[in-house]
């Protein structure tokens, strides 16, 4: 039991950046836009958040800067794809590659600096035996991400604005005919997605590994993209998936340290194996995917034609 609490705690922390980014991408995709630039946005946000937190001494400002950086990049992406009609996949890939290079360049003066992380947690609850250590000693952003998940779930399924957003993702032409401004709605969705990816990036450089080094996101932006599909565009499944992905990596480490004779290479495959397995399972039921996958995902819409 003693080993279990840190295992759960680590899995939650490892899953949080995945969840934050995946939630943002989910909202993007629900509006019909796929943004493959998540890795680049996370990296630029990581360096922006780290720089601001270091210079100002305030992690909160760091998170704000990260979100702002993510939004700035996604605004650029929105201009290229939603207004100029550039191919979403190609533009997203370019944004990712740009983000990798730009973050490395901008981050040069910050390599080797460190932030001190103060222990945090929920008062009273954090002192509980076992559950306190496993669940209630986390950075506030972990709880924010949970609220965000619940909020997005509510927004998409229960609110009028959420319905409009989904309509734009399913049938932009119909939404346009009804008088909704498709471009503006997609811009808002992309900005929100950028902010989420930004928070995820800032979480990496401020909480997860409190430092800046080139390419520190190490592919988590891509995993977040896979996660939205894995979760069949359902926020609560994103939560489960993110903790599962985080959890399997952590579990492999704990098993190795315990000397369980299992190949670490095999264990490293497990998250991806799990993704494929779940994809196969949900794909057997065609309705599950079809009901949730935005029908116009990746297709640009020009209201003037």
């Amino acid at each position: 039991m003693d080993a279990l609490a840190p295992l759960i705690a680590s899995a939650i922390v490892a899953g949080t950046p995945l969840m934050l980014a995946a939630l943002g991408l989910l909202v993007n995709e629900k509006s019909g836009v796929i943004n493959l630039g998540s890795e680049g946005m996370m990296l630029v946000a990581a360096v922006a958040g780290f720089a601001v937190a270091l210079d100002s001494g305030s992690p909160a400002l760091g998170f704000a800067a990260g979100a702002a950086a993510g939004m700035a990049l996604s605004a650029f992406f929105a201009w290229l794809t939603v207004w100029l009609g550039a191919n979403q996949v190609a533009t997203g890939l370019a944004l990712s590659l740009f983000g990798v290079g730009a973050s490395a360049y901008l981050g040069l003066p910050y390599v080797g600096e460190t932030l001190t992380v103060h222990p945090s947690g929920i008062p009273l609850l954090k002192d509980l035996p076992f559950v306190g250590r496993a669940l209630f000693q986390h950075h506030p952003m972990v709880y924010v991400s949970l609220l965000l998940c619940a909020g997005i779930a509510w927004f998409l399924s229960r609110s009028r604005a959420g319905l409009v957003l989904r309509a734009v993702g399913e049938a932009p032409a119909s939404a346009h005919a009804l008088g909704y401004n498709v471009r503006r709605i997609r811009l808002c969705a992309l900005l929100f997605g950028g902010a989420c990816c930004g928070l995820a990036g800032a979480f990496m450089s401020l909480v997860y590994t409190p430092m800046w080094v080139e390419n520190m996101v190490a592919g988590r932006g891509w995993i977040a993209l896979a996660l939205t599909t894995f979760a069949t565009w359902r926020p609560l499944r994103v939560l489960v998936g993110a903790y599962l992905f985080g959890g399997i990596t952590i579990l492999t480490f704990h098993m190795q340290a315990l000397g369980v004779p299992i190949a670490s290479q095999l264990l490293s495959m497990l998250p991806y194996l799990a993704t494929i397995l779940v994809l196969v399972l949900i794909s057997r039921n065609a309705n599950w995917i079809r009901l949730n996958m935005p029908a116009s995902l990746g297709k640009n819409f020009n209201p003037n034609t």
């Binding site: 295992l7 460190t114 409190p210 080139e214 190490a218 988590r220 190795q256 340290a257 315990l258």
Partner: protein, 362 residues
């Protein structure tokens, strides 16, 4: 008339490069141009950082006799060949290629530029104008193990490894053997992260080890994440590549480091003197290529003295980290007498007694 003028002008233009060449050849005592190819950005700690420290040390030792150029963040593979060839074409007469994956590109370019000398790090292929170099990091690891054995209270020491290859296993095994000389109860637990550089995973692995009772962690990966995780949890760490005390002022007990300045300087001097040879240098504590430094003020004097004593013995050649008997962790005797030779080191594929678990390859 104008046509004649044009021809004249053209002739001068055609001559210009040749003239420029003859001028540069005339200029006496031109500095030796030395090129460096780095696999990652220089950063502030790690493998490439140490290589660059070496470059700078060489520059300050030889002054205006050398002129260095470096190219950082060069991926291993086809691109490396282009970068190395570029450096050779720019007139660099000595080129250091500082990563294992540059081996074949280096040899390929070396064939095309027979008058340029190449030095490749951590590889095993040589040619008439290609030397190789590596460091016996494991000698310093052995000393780090002694520190860990003396300092651990829980008798569990965590080790974050990148890939289970001989170079990393030499480190783990030497560390464990050093540790067990002072503390036969202590045990090393290893987590492989299957990446040279992924701060998030390195940190998670270190946290997992500390969660299972390790009170000292060390790593054979490239980032500072392990040391930082130990600092955060109030545990100890032994850094690798560079002194990381800045990242873990309380955590870092010591750092196992490598230094290339003297070697780079000597290679450049040999080229200048015309005595350069394509030799294979595998230097350790004695040549200063591997070192242990960055000691924590919390280390007791007797531990420090013991480390210094053992270091002197290794330098003098009276102590070898891999002297018989060597038993693997299943109890099988690997070496009954003598000292494990370089061939044995280069194909190490087992954990020694004192390491928990079994290698993922088995």
């Amino acid at each position: 008339m104008s046509a004649k003028l044009l021809r004249k002008a053209l002739r001068w233009i055609a001559l210009a490069p040749a003239l420029a060449c003859s001028f540069s050849a005339v200029a006496a005592d031109e500095p030796l141009k030395v090129g460096f190819v780095y696999v990652s950005p220089i950063g502030e700690a790690g493998w490439t950082w140490q290589q660059d420290l070496g470059r700078r040390e060489m520059e300050s030792a030889l002054g205006d006799k050398v002129k260095t150029t470096y190219v950082e963040d060069v991926p291993e593979g086809a691109d490396a060949e282009r970068v190395i060839r570029d450096l050779a074409q720019q007139g660099n007469k000595l080129i250091f290629t500082t990563s294992f994956g540059f081996m074949n590109p280096t040899l390929k370019v070396a064939r095309q530029f027979p008058d340029v000398k190449f030095v490749h790090s951590t590889g095993y292929k040589t040619a008439a104008n290609v030397a190789t170099t590596n460091a016996r990091f494991y000698e310093a690891r052995y000393l780090a193990g002694i520190i860990a054995g003396k300092m651990t209270k829980s008798n569990i020491v965590g080790y974050v490894g990148a890939y289970p290859i001989p170079e990393v296993l030499q480190g783990i095994n030497a560390f464990t053997r050093g540790m067990r000389t002072v503390n036969p109860e202590a045990q090393v637990r290893v987590i492989w992260v299957n990446s040279w550089f992924d701060p998030g995973k390195e940190r998670d692995a270190a946290l997992a080890l500390m969660g299972q009772g390790a009170d000292i962690v060390t790593h054979h990966t490239d980032s500072t994440a392990t040391v930082q995780a130990a600092e955060e949890k109030g545990k100890y760490a032994i850094a690798y590549h560079s002194d990381m005390s800045k990242f873990g002022p309380h955590a870092q007990l010591a750092a196992v480091t490598h230094h290339w300045g003297k070697y780079f300087t000597k290679e450049a001097q040999d080229v200048l003197a015309g005595t350069w040879k394509p030799d294979q240098v595998w230097g350790g504590l004695k040549s200063g290529m591997a070192a242990i430094e960055g000691f924590n003020a919390a280390l007791p004097q007797d531990v420090l003295a013991l480390v210094k004593e053992k270091e002197a013995e290794i330098v003098a050649g009276t102590l070898a980290p891999f002297a018989a008997p060597i038993k693997d962790n299943t109890g099988k005797v690997v070496l009954e007498s003598g000292v494990l030779d370089d061939a044995g080191l280069n194909k190490m594929n087992y954990y020694v007694e004192g390491v928990a678990g079994s290698l993922p390859t088995k």
